[in-house]
Symmetry: D2
Subunit: 139 residues, 4 copies
């Protein structure tokens, strides 16, 4: 199921490469974060809104599948899909070559909404987050 | 099951921290790589031996569980355990606080042995790798 | 003096921030590399052309001046200027806020052209590099 | 002149390498930070003490000279030398191969003491910092 989606283009920088001349596997996490931030921006619920609401969304779990290596200068299309908002925020990521559409990488993250002041886990998403997703659906 | 194990101490550097004053989640992958390299060194089958054998071991899958955040200067003990060598190399990682033993992070990687020249997947591990593990068991 | 120039827009990602909530000083080097690659692309003499010519351009010296800290999501304009091509490649970098024009960072790099096969320093730039700069000037 | 010195051993991790099979130039900054933190620890005036004193020491300028490339697994000895404490904190860095003593890299940083609450530059170092350096000299 998809509650909200976004697509982000990222160009592979030189410093992300390893001696095999491909992106070092740990650097794909950066691409998922850039894309997740773009998705949250689109929804209108990014880190600033979280701070105002007194919550944060640390990553609790992450799974990654490395299918084909990305190379220098390659334009990647990172698709992000919110699959679940409550009790936890589940996002799926698919990285494809922006031109050919070939799939290179897949991932899932599970994030928990945590009250900043108390450190307590909340199993409901903040109102503004839910409304942002509703607005995006209608548009 | 454990075919081989190692423990590596890592001290959290300042540049691994994020604005929450804890290690950014993507940086734990670096700790797993440092620890995996130390384990392979102990076995006597590190990147140089792979190169000589004409193989490489790219990461195909990775799972991570973030339990408690690490902080600046904290000494981490990264335990690595080879659980399977064939057909794929499966390694498990547990990061604990080196003093208190509190568990902070867990991960698993699945790597495939690939012939460098052809790009073909091999489902048997190189002889030297297997012998290295045998030697370690006896010691 | 300016032999060639380019401007690149970079948006500060979350993972570049440090506990002070600003970009960690070491991450500005990444911005200079992204911008230098964009400049070389514009000239038509990027890493692929260097490889074909059998040369590389390692950084020999770098100077940086940190004027004002960049923050999360800030759009930066990185201006790059080739000031000298021979005997060494000297590039100047100025990072400004893309909206306000406020200067945040300045840098200089000095690179040496090195013959890949021999490791010997060359004090003349490859023909294609010089021609690319000439073409850009006329356009 | 040397007010205080330290030496730190760093082993080059795989993820710091670039496609040339050497440490990417931007990663040397990480080594200078690890070594600077070790020096400040030895003096007894690290980030925690700065926080208690309500000051911070942002990097204002940095110069780097890349002499010879470091490679995977190489053990580096990073020597740090405080050359000036007031009005600014000037530190010099020399990275050598830990075994052969061959010099690979040199750098200088200039840091300014800034009052956290006001953002005002202070041209005197905090008392505890000066005392820590005095103690180290006598030992």
């Amino acid at each position: 199921m998809s509650l909200a989606e976004a697509e982000t283009i990222i160009e592979v920088p030189f410093f992300d490469l390893d001696p095999m001349n491909v992106v070092w596997h740990g650097n794909y996490i950066k691409y998922t974060e850039i894309a997740r931030c773009a998705l949250l921006d689109k929804i209108g619920y990014s880190y600033d809104e979280m701070r105002i609401d007194g919550v944060m969304y640390p990553i609790a779990k992450m799974e990654m599948k490395f299918i084909k290596s990305a190379v220098f200068g390659q334009k990647l299309c990172v698709k992000t899909i919110i699959e679940e908002l409550e009790p936890g925020l589940n996002i799926r990521y698919i990285i494809k070559d922006a031109k050919t559409g070939e799939t290179l990488f897949k991932a899932k993250t599970m994030q928990i909404c945590v009250e900043f002041a108390t450190g307590k886990s909340l199993y409901e998403a903040p109102e503004k987050f839910k409304k942002g997703i509703e607005c995006l659906k209608k548009s």
